[in-house]
């Protein structure tokens, strides 16, 4: 008896099937099959140009694949895009904050788009330790503070899945440490986390499973229990042939 795809993928938080993406005939993803369980913390590693950002953008529905299917919590991301977006919090290279507006106005704008109560603005700002800076215009905040508000924005609707695409980009060391400790301390054990980063050491602190993407394919995956930092570095070197 044949089952509907939604039913088949129901157990996975994220599932991709034979995912491909090409830009002007140039393939970036070449058949990515991925299954991530609810609550799993995944680090997606790989050199520049491996397709990490493209994969994250496809998972977040910013971009559609050339072929293949994505299921988020059992929902086909192309057919149920709006429902899927409600389940996802996305933190990218950019903060998605409007520099002329205050942090409060930005969060208030996004909470209207996500249809969540006004109290959430105060709650998430407190979570990132910046409630006292809500009235400041974004262009007067440091890049680190902007990124913390960006995380607050991504958590506004209490997403089941959080996607982070190199969230440390442009941050100084202190801000990076703060960002990682926030991610480590995320007490929501059921929240699925997918993180792309070049920082293997930091990834090891947070992730439970490591995937290496190279040349548009997942070439390596292993659980944290079977890896230490040196093992991860070795695997990275071996599967990416020393590319950055």
């Amino acid at each position: 008896m044949s089952q509907a795809p939604d039913a088949i993928s129901g157990n996975w938080s994220i599932e991709t099937r034979a995912l491909t993406k090409s830009f002007d005939e140039r393939p970036v993803l070449k058949g990515v099959n991925l299954k991530i369980a609810p609550g799993e913390k995944i680090a997606l590693l790989g050199p520049n140009g491996a397709g990490k950002t493209t994969l994250i953008k496809i998972l977040s529905t910013i971009m559609y694949p050339t072929s293949g299917t994505v299921f988020i919590d059992g929902l086909n991301s192309r057919e149920k895009a709006e429902d899927v977006r409600r389940k996802i919090g996305f933190v990218g290279h950019n903060t998605f904050l409007y520099s002329n507006l205050t942090a409060f106005e930005n969060l208030d704008f996004y909470r209207r788009l996500y249809d969540v109560p006004a109290e959430r603005v105060g709650q998430v700002s407190e979570m990132v330790g910046l409630k006292s800076r809500l009235g400041d215009r974004v262009n007067t905040l440091s890049r680190g503070m902007q990124q913390r508000f960006s995380i607050a924005r991504a958590l506004l609707h209490e997403p089941a899945i959080i996607l982070l695409d190199e969230p440390e980009t442009g941050l100084d060391q202190q801000a990076i440490s703060l960002l990682w400790s926030m991610l480590r301390d995320d007490r929501n054990a059921t929240r699925t986390l997918v993180l792309t980063t070049h920082n293997l050491e930091r990834a090891l602190e947070i992730a439970e499973r490591f995937l290496i993407l190279s040349g548009g394919k997942i070439v390596f995956q292993e659980n944290r229990s079977s890896l230490n930092l040196e093992g991860l570095r070795q695997a990275y070197r071996q599967h990416t042939q020393g590319k950055n």
Binding site: S60, I62, F96, L97, Y98, L101, F109, L113, R153
Partner: protein, 222 residues
């Protein structure tokens, strides 16, 4: 409710513009300069004005509109916020509608300020119900089409050049219809005499609103 989200986008654009005053100030300065240059060129002779005023008015609004529309999506791209909108649970159609409504508000503000100045400098009666109706209807079509092309142009390298090149030839029918309807209104003709031109503008509005809603999703897709 989708319309609340749409209004949130419009409100955000208005608030952001209120803070930066990038669009309104530059478009207003441009509009005033053009009106003053036309005033020096053609004077304010009543007979000359009846012939030239509709063209002057719509040339001014068209180029001011292009300036304004150019900024609509450029600001989203420059701030890196387009993806923030795209990852939010709002349909692409509502993003289009929210951005369109914001641009419409800016253009109407410019027109509301420019029309009395135009009336004063050229000594013609442009503040009438008929001209207000023509201006509103033509601006809706202009902005409906322009918002779509602005989203398209912003993805190109020469974005500020691409918008007028792509957009103005498409929007010419609505500008011609607006010029003709304005000319008839200034000559004191009835609504009935203006009807055919108004219908062209309304048809253009409807066609471009439907087409834009339909294809906006593909235009902003990466």
């Amino acid at each position: 409710m989708p319309w609340r989200k749409m209004l949130a986008i419009t409100w955000k654009d208005i608030l952001s513009e209120f803070r930066s005053r990038e669009i309104i100030v530059s478009v207003m300065v441009f509009t005033l300069l053009v009106i003053i240059i036309f005033n020096f060129a053609f004077g304010s002779n009543a007979d000359t004005m009846k012939i030239t005023a509709p063209g002057m008015l719509w040339v001014t609004f068209a180029f001011a509109g292009v300036l304004s529309l150019n900024r609509s999506f450029i600001l989203e791209r420059e701030e890196g916020c387009m993806e923030g909108l795209m990852v939010s649970p709002i349909s692409r159609e509502m993003i289009y509608a929210g951005k369109m409504l914001g641009s419409l508000t800016f253009m109407l503000i410019v027109e509301i300020v420019a029309l009395p100045i135009f009336a004063f400098l050229f000594n013609i009666e442009v503040i009438t119900l008929k001209i207000a109706a023509v201006t509103l209807l033509a601006t809706i079509g202009f902005v409906a089409c322009g918002t779509l092309f602005s989203a398209l142009a912003v993805k190109t390298k020469a974005r500020e050049l691409v918008l007028p090149i792509l957009f103005l030839p498409i929007v010419v029918p609505v500008i011609i219809a607006a010029v003709r309807a304005t000319s008839l209104a200034l000559s004191g003709k009835s609504w009935g005499d203006m009807a055919s031109w108004l219908l062209i503008i309304i048809a253009f509005d409807a066609v471009f609103l439907v087409i834009s809603f339909w294809i906006f999703n593909f235009v902003i897709e990466e």
